[in-house]
Symmetry: C2
Subunit: 433 residues, 2 copies
């Protein structure tokens, strides 16, 4: 249908149909690049909302509400007449017939398919990890972790009361990347607030937050002085940082290290890495490369395919030096935009161009007033200035002005240490015995 | 221990211990009345938060977020050194030994016990109602209903697409009291927003919201002209109002009426009434009176008990004419305050006084710009003025300045019809097939 004569206005139904699996950063960027163009677009997602993943750790530590970091996908495209949303889970993809099959059995045919399925936590085969460690990659992960953390604090107080002494408590965060650093910093803040504001009778000296990593430093993607700074900041807020520790097992109440040590802990938070493989429809997993990611050419098309594309965390996007792009939000957004342009090129019979990542820097926050950013050319910004840059950038990238306003209010509140906050235990099974 | 000599400063442990079961309006009012007094107070609740029940219907219709109408109980009393919170469910009460037994087996002894357990939806033995109708009395009810409503809208669009025509859809709201009126009005608004802002391809003409009641008019607690006004307002916003209809059965896809009619519907929202009995610990249920409520004397003590009290929806609070107080938030707050005063009287060896309800009026809102209030002396306020009064009063009574600010922002947003809003499907089982 790409060949219909230009003089005849094409009806909506006769336009090329682009199906995007996944409404994360990458999928939304593709759809935005195609909105109000001469194309039909369908976004399929098992959730009806887009999640701002970089702030999930704040939902997990009761600094933000789920609605602050999530936005209905329909609402993002409410005014784009050519973009539709389909709430559903993709069961399989039939590339020979250009069909996507959903969990309810219904079929959606496509002219172009964009795989933007993201990634899920990678447990690297560590026994017990997938059962007992708590990942932090989806909104429900974050809600589950928050409920768990708050319940543990409640239970610890009661236990201390029964035993007649303040109880001991250890949280272990596995992984010294941005998620691990941010989560452990925010967790110490949550504990301080729970004691100071909520009157929980816990002994701050007996509550440990331990951040472990195999590597010899934090934030290995950053220059070494940024790593040192992050370590100092975390330690000053009460986090114990342990390097060179490999995790060999996790059970309900403890974590086992490669050196034989077993540490009793109330919860293990898993921030050790992600894999794209489990999120992919099975049919595509066979073509996957590093980290379970789909191998794509420079123009982001699946190797060997003319009309299937992959973007964001799901794609192994090649760099010029033979390596692959990191799984970062800016890569997802930029690859999504590029993919939309290339699909338009193909639909209009034009040649595609290769994706090039424009590195504008990376950043991580450690706590109030402390963040670290690496800008291009090795410039490192840290401290309060880095933190303000972090705040501004994250507010800017949040979808929807109202979300920005709400997050701004929440942050202001916590910054000035005012008492209220979303420390609600609101699982569906929200009652206790 | 009430007799310890006044000249010796009593230690915290030697003070009279008041245990309050329930952290709703009534329980919180009791604890506030006792905070910073010469008393130890423990509030037990199965949720760690206080819920602002009058606005739950807005959470259910995606106008507000759970955190907007809920507030951690610990945070409310964070600064009151004599008030403690215990997260747990009461299994039984042993009045002969002055003991409360929790679900985990732990025991808490009391000098005075306050039953503030509230009420739950009453299904009046209608077959299928407890299984298939959706009540709206707790935060999890509200979240469940919202997920269900949004999922139904998504499914209806898909169904319409498969059938090639816009699908039909009926929601039935049972009960013409304030909750039923408010919910049906808000539901029509949600549907309009979903079509207008989220691009859901639904035919407003084929989506019915039907409000049914046995009585011949809405809001029977109000004067007749208020009822007429509410009916006109609801009908102008698209709600069908049907009187004299008794519900005799509900199944997964339909509702059955006493006249033999069976109406297919996607969801039945149950706002037909509440019962206090199911919320009570069994040991107290035996003494219950009308609506499963505990019978109390004029001073709010259980009939025949010297140190067990009941307040709010859980109590059948006698009026001077032999009737009982309605189950309303103002009654809960006032009875809670009165109970705290009486406990202080008893602890100090003074005589108790009888509770008198000060009726400051009742109000209900129907939609944007439309509310109705009955003030004392039969004064009825309606329309935009009533609505503004409703807004102000509800904002005022919300716990916590931040909640007020957030609710104000959310309301402003919806009033001016701005696109974003918390229309997220966020059940724990938040994925679909």
């Amino acid at each position: 249908m790409e060949n219909s004569p230009r003089s005849v206005p094409r009806t909506l139904a006769s336009r090329a149909h682009v199906v995007i699996i996944g409404g994360g950063f990458a999928g939304v960027a593709v759809a935005k690049g195609l909105s109000d163009r001469d194309i039909r677009v369908t976004i399929i997602d098992q959730h009806n909302f887009h999640t701002f993943v970089p702030l999930l750790y704040q939902v997990a530590t009761a600094g933000l509400e789920p609605a602050d970091v999530a936005f209905p996908i329909r609402t993002i495209f409410g005014h784009a007449k050519n973009v539709r949303f389909r709430h559903g889970r993709v069961r399989s993809v039939d590339q020979s017939r250009n069909l996507v099959v959903l969990g309810d059995g219904s079929q959606i045919d496509y002219d172009h398919l964009v795989v933007a399925t993201g990634a899920t936590a990678a447990f690297f085969g560590v026994p017990g990890a997938s059962l007992f460690a708590m990942p932090l990659y989806t909104l429900s992960d974050a809600r589950r972790l928050r409920n768990r953390l708050l319940l543990i604090l409640e239970e610890t107080e009661v236990r201390g009361e029964i035993d007649g002494a303040l109880a001991q408590l250890t949280f272990v965060v596995v992984g010294g990347g941005p998620t691990g650093v941010e989560t452990s910093g925010a967790l110490t803040e949550l504990i301080q607030i729970a004691i100071k504001r909520d009157g929980l009778r816990l002994d701050p000296e007996r509550i440990r937050v331990v951040l472990v990593d195999m590597a010899p430093r934090l934030l290995t993607a950053f220059p070494e002085r940024a790593s040192d700074y992050a370590k100092r900041q975390l330690e000053s807020s009460g986090v114990e940082v342990q390097f060179g520790r490999s995790v060999v097992g996790i059970d309900e109440h403890s974590i086992h290290f490669g050196d034989g040590e077993r540490v009793e802990c109330a919860a293990v938070i898993w921030a050790a890495g992600v894999s794209a493989g489990d999120a992919l429809p099975h049919d595509l997993a066979s073509t996957s490369g590093p980290g379970g990611r789909v191998l794509v050419g420079g123009d982001l098309r699946l190797l060997g395919s003319a009309n299937v594309w992959a973007v964001g965390d799901a794609a192994a996007v090649p760099l010029s030096d033979g390596a692959f792009c990191a799984q970062l939000a800016p890569v997802a957004i930029q690859s999504g935009r590029h993919c939309a342009e290339q699909i338009l090129h193909v639909v209009h019979g034009e040649a595609t161009t290769d994706f090039r990542y424009h590195d504008k820097g990376i950043m991580a926050t450690i706590g109030r007033n402390a963040a670290v950013a690496e800008l291009p050319h090795g410039v490192v910004v840290k401290g309060r200035l880095g933190w303000l840059a972090w705040l501004g950038l994250h507010l800017w990238y949040l979808v929807g002005f109202r979300n920005r306003l709400r997050v701004f209010i929440n942050w202001t509140w916590r910054y000035f240490d005012w008492p209220s906050g979303p420390r609600l235990i609101v699982a569906d099974a929200e009652t206790v015995e």
